[in-house]
Amino acid sequence: MNLSLMSLEISVVALGLVVLLADLWLPAERRRALGYVAAAALGLLLLQNLSGCCSCCVAGGDGTAFGGMFVQDGLSVFFKRFFLLAGALVLVLAVEFSDRIATGVSEYYSLIIFALAGMLFAASANDFAMLFVSIELITITFYILTSFTRGKVAALEAGVKYLILGALSSAFMVYGIALVWGTTGKFNFNELAQVAGNFTDNKVFLFGVVFILAGLGFKIAAFPFQMWTPDVYQGAPTPTTAFLAVGSKAAGFVLLLRFLFTAIPSVTAHWDKLLIIISGITILYGNLCAIPQRNLKRLLGYSSIAHAGYLLLGVAAMTSAGQSAVLYYLSGYLFTTLAAFTVIALVMRHLDSEDIAGLAGLNQRSPLLAATLTLAMVSLAGIPPLAGFFGKFLLLKAVIEQGAVNHGYYCLAFTALVGVVISLYYYFGVIRAIYWSKDAASREPILISTPMRVAIVGCIAGIFWLGVAPGAVLRLAESAVNALHCPGLALN
């Protein structure tokens, strides 16, 4: 067993406990700033991870721990950096939001950190037990985070809906794991990959795989399992929604990639049609349902379903180009979505609901926030030269390259383009509300604290950086997905 591989996870869990305990000794008025401390600590861990160039541990680089359950390779390192960055930005946002949390601000911070720890474990999961426990660590923490403002009925309702549907999906996943393990006798993904080819005709095994996919589909909000998304996005506190949109979805995708391409590649190879159909319907469903929405967070919930569909394009392509495009798109999605939710949290702080009309006059109240939200919407819509455009370009390219194999891929690419065109309508509805609304409810300028300003400028820089100079991240993503295909020789 190699504990040093897990030093990052151990530090994050320890940080969560320290934040929880610090609450006992800190006077009430200084607890709020604890979030900045935690965000700074996560930033330090991220820097240490980056500077250690490809190894966050002394042992140096790749390896497995707990008998192959926990794997440290290019893919997990990529996603761990992703989650740390997301966690730090969400904590800054949570500090900004903390005046709306009646009691237990430090608990809110520490729960975010524990969810982050679950995501870090998910990035390294190479075994069904690890997959299940890490996904539940994320989900159960999110039940609490979703209804943390328990004075609001909407938050409680969102929490209960998430709870019932989340528990349902985890029941499906557990049953699927039982069936897959019962037929093959393997929990470990690498061992399963060696025998999965013998079971491609076994109905019980295939049922198990479908059930596991149902559980993962719930996490990423793919088509038949997307019902919870709009309600939970709308009702949850804004930092939770942001973390749900970025962290939870990315954790679902890293597990999906590992499950489909490391554990059962021989089964996945036959399922291109299923993935194409799910991806296409998810794109259309998300985009069409987003059109009539008036609540900004609900609109972003539907848009997040649509983006799950775009990300599934890269999974459906079943090439390493598609998988690296997924990673790249997620990186762009991180900056874009966090920027959007940050603006929502700042602008809507005195309003009961996050109605789009509340954005009226934002251009006069705070040009920076108006520009940020505009950039975020434009990037989500996929207009060059921003991050969203290049990500979509890579995903579509990966799908069209596969078109020669199966003509369904051309239909899928066409569906995705239709989805992008539909999405322009509602994204530009938001931009219109920012700049061309007549009746602004309030005209007072919005104050932005310095850490918040840094986070916003960082997000904007990220959106431009990924759109204009994609080389560095793309190379990282490409080397990361190599780990999926040759688990023995994971590159870094």
Binding site: V133, V153, I164, A167, V174, I177, A178, P292, R298
Partner: protein, 128 residues
Amino acid sequence: MADGRWGCALGAFPHLPFPISYLLYKKMNVGLEHYLVVSALLFALGLLGVITRRNLLVMYMSLELMLNSANLALVSFSRFNDNLNGQVMVFFIITVAAAEVAVGLALIVALYRKRQSAHVEDLTSMKL
């Protein structure tokens, strides 16, 4: 013919309840398939409960039934395949389910205090 068979099953072991007496009469060995069928039935019953019941607590109970059906499947696979890993997994599932229940019941109680109701029809504050 069929009558005779059922009748014999009842007559041969009059002191035992019918399904068991039938199994004994048929000299059936209870094998992996039987456990799996029971576990699939439990799973289906749980799913049916979640879909048809409208009370949050009953729905939540049905969800626990679904989780336990998976446990039964894991344990029986483990027993019949002589592989203890499945039973280890069951411990993980039980632990996680306990955590989930703790959080879930707290949420349902909090909602009940706010709305004086635990019915899903009342969860309608968020709509288009």
